[in-house]
């Protein structure tokens, strides 16, 4: 029900801040010489126009059902409720606009909201790590942008609070400059012509050949500190489009479209299995025989996924560019209909991650994301905010990561494998469940009259488990470099994470019963950035201690024993 664009009615602001908010709507509580920054500012009144339209769009299936197609009584009643719901949500939106104000004082960012339960969210300015300007189509038509400020806090609720939906583009840009570029006495950037982020302008086709893929990092690595110069680190290249069908983003699109169609059909009281074309297809498949029918379905699904993935890729990454500004931030701009400009404080970047799905790897592609505090990986609106390079050729993606890190070794260095025991464990962990499934389905087939195909599916899974386990074992690896800890794991989705040593803020050494048996442990580096925890999976116990000790020298020293033998440890590399 909830679309991706609103956090829902949050009249209850999150009061992680300081003051209880008893002050009047526009009274600055602290009198300070600089008058302007102390003033409470409002969201753009244009939002009053955007919000109802957005809600209507979201309720479109219901409206289409009631206005165009639907006359059936039951469906119409449901639609009436939907329309009433839209009314309520629009009302809440108006209220939210009226009660939300914000300001940026020299020391803090404050957002005040709520009608009955007033709350003021206060975040120290030096905690601001990222600023994300997102503009949907409606936003862009009216020159608006939604601002999401990422702080270093891992607290979920505090993050939701620092979102302003929406400001005028000019105001949003000014806010971003204030938050990320105008702090600290040294960085006096008046108008900042250097910043390349102009999200509301028409996106330029990504054909700027400013950067060949695999060039060495040196030379572009130190764009910071110049004060004015912005360096373009990457732009979308047409050649990357051939990785788009393999990005699998189309699966989501197909799901959404199917869901939408289903709702329209449902609200209109229309039953798809009664319709002519659908019946013809079903009948044809029924006549075609199992193998042919499966092949047909698979082919059509693959084709659809490919097409939708490409469309999704274009929508998300059109006009992609990654820029290093002179003020120590990275700018990512992208998007065809919904534009997004994410600004990341470079000093908060704790590493880079190169990831590829099985399919993407098969065609030699990969994507690159930043591991940074203030952007927690895989969470709602923040998802994708840390993206540094969309699915592209492996060399290009690694090149982008290398430019951001200023060092290409973490993404290229050969990794130390985890040895025989780890390989064995990968096999048992994939094969035992698959074999169990085969046994269970066989028993149920014999004893409880389950259809035979369940056994066949289970057997297929068992066969597929072998290459999967082999690949998972092959991909295990780690390396300790002077500046970072690199680890790799996974098969269906493989990740090589390079975490800077300074980003490691703790260790977890996990030993399951079976791991203890095999002499392995999982060493987890905890961090305030990205995924919050990065695992070196199934590494020999002694090696894990070595790694942890060498990564943060001295920390483990009081707890170590048996360091008498300085002979090289038998490194279980295959």
């Amino acid at each position: 029900m909830t679309g991706p664009d609103h956090a829902g009615p949050d009249l209850t602001g999150t009061g992680t801040g300081t003051t209880g908010g008893t002050a009047g709507p526009a009274a600055p509580p602290v009198p300070v010489p600089v008058p302007d920054p102390e003033r409470w500012r409002r969201l753009s009144p244009l939002m009053l126009a955007v919000h109802p339209v957005m809600e209507v769009v979201r309720a479109l299936p219901a409206l289409v059902g009631v206005l165009v197609l639907g006359v059936t009584r039951g469906a119409a009643q449901g639609a009436v409720w939907s329309v009433a719901g839209v009314g309520v949500v629009v009302g809440i939106g108006l209220l939210r606009w009226a009660t939300t104000t914000y300001r940026v004082t020299p020391a803090q960012v404050q957002v005040r909201r709520g009608l009955l339960r007033r709350s003021v969210l206060t975040v120290p300015r030096d905690r601001v790590r990222t600023v994300d300007l997102t503009a949907h189509v409606m936003h862009r038509l009216l020159g608006l942008a939604r601002v999401t400020v990422g702080t270093g806090q891992s607290d979920r609720r505090a993050q939701d609070g620092l979102r302003l939906d929406a400001l005028t583009t000019a105001e949003a840009h000014r806010l971003r400059e204030e938050l990320l570029h105008e702090r600290g006495p040294a960085v006096g950037l008046g108008g900042t012509p250097a910043t390349a982020g102009t999200p509301a302008t028409a996106p330029v086709p990504g054909t700027v050949p400013a950067r060949p893929g695999g060039t060495p990092v040196t030379g572009t690595g130190d764009g910071t500190g110049t004060g004015t110069g912005a360096t373009v680190l990457a732009t979308l290249r047409p050649a990357w489009l051939r990785y788009a069908p393999f990005s699998l983003s189309g699966l989501v699109t197909i799901g959404v479209v199917t869901g939408f169609a289903w709702r329209v059909a449902g609200d209109a009281g229309w039953q798809p299995d009664q319709a002519g074309p659908v019946r013809q297809v079903v009948d044809q498949l029924g006549r075609a025989g199992l193998v042919l029918a499966t092949a047909e379905v698979v082919l059509v699904v693959l084709l659809l996924v490919g097409v939708f993935s490409t469309i999704g890729y274009l929508l998300a990454f059109w006009g992609f560019s990654l820029t290093r500004t002179g003020a120590g931030t990275l700018h990512v701009t992208r998007g065809l209909l919904t534009t997004r400009t994410i600004t990341i404080d470079e000093s908060r970047i704790r590493g880079v991650e190169l990831s590829d799905t099985l399919l993407l790897r098969w065609v030699g592609g990969a994507r690159c994301t930043a591991i940074t505090t203030g952007l927690r990986a895989g969470r709602g609106a923040e998802r994708g905010a840390s993206l540094l390079c969309p699915p592209a050729s492996r060399a290009d993606a690694a090149g982008v990561g290398a430019r951001v890190l200023g060092d290409r070794t973490p993404l290229e260095v050969a990794l130390t494998g985890h040895g025989r025991a780890a390989t064995r464990r990968r096999f048992t962990r994939t094969l035992v469940p698959a074999a169990g499934l085969v046994l269970a389905t066989t028993a149920l087939w014999r004893l409880a009259d389950w259809p035979q195909w369940t056994v066949e599916v289970a057997l297929t899974l068992l066969v597929l488990a072998v290459p999967l386990a082999a690949d998972r074992a092959r991909n295990l690896g780690h390396a300790l470099l002077p500046a970072s800890l690199v680890m790799r794991q996974g098969s269906l989705v493989r990740r090589r994470s390079a975490l800077t040593r300074a980003g490691v803020i703790g260790w977890t050494i996990r030993r399951s019963f079976f791991q203890r048996w095999a002499g392995l442990v999982t060493l987890t580096a905890t961090t305030a950035a990205g995924r919050q925890h990065y695992e070196v999976l199934d590494v020999p116990a002694a090696r894990a201690v070595q790694l942890a000790d060498a990564t943060l020298p001295g920390l483990l020293a009081p707890f170590l024993v048996g360091s008498a033998d300085p002979a090289p440890a038998g490194d279980p590399t295959r």
Binding site: L480, I505, R510, A567
Partner: protein, 168 residues
Amino acid sequence: MTDSTLPTLALRPPAHRVSGRAVVYWTARAALGWVGLVAAQAIWLAVSPAERAAHVAVFAVTLVLAVLHLAVMPQWRFRVHRWEYSQDAVYTQAGWFNQERRIAPVSRIQTVDSHRGPFERMFGLANVTVTTASAAGPLTIEGLDQPVADRLVDDLTRQTQVAGGDAT
């Protein structure tokens, strides 16, 4: 790799055990869960006379599992659960079947707090949780004597204040 020339090291377990009363507490807590399960089965057995043999078998298996769990788990857990802190780091070990060691530098600690549920209070026990800026890395020491927990919180809070910084 170059770092394979490092000496072979092993991490010793942390120095301090948790309170001896924790064993009783863990037993009681686990027993409560089993009592519920056993009671439900007893009622089932009494109410529905059909397939009595199967029911009795399941009941027996449950009882055996419960006795085994209650006999083994608390002792095992007591042997594993340990904690220690130094000038620079907090170090904990927890679990029984699966075990976990966690180490956090004192300079990265964000909050230290002790908490105790009503059931734990009956046994005079308290837990201490140490959080860092990572959402993945809280260290929890379960089943400490209340005075020990208070002293630990005091000490760590003092050390953390000395360290400073924003700990990310």
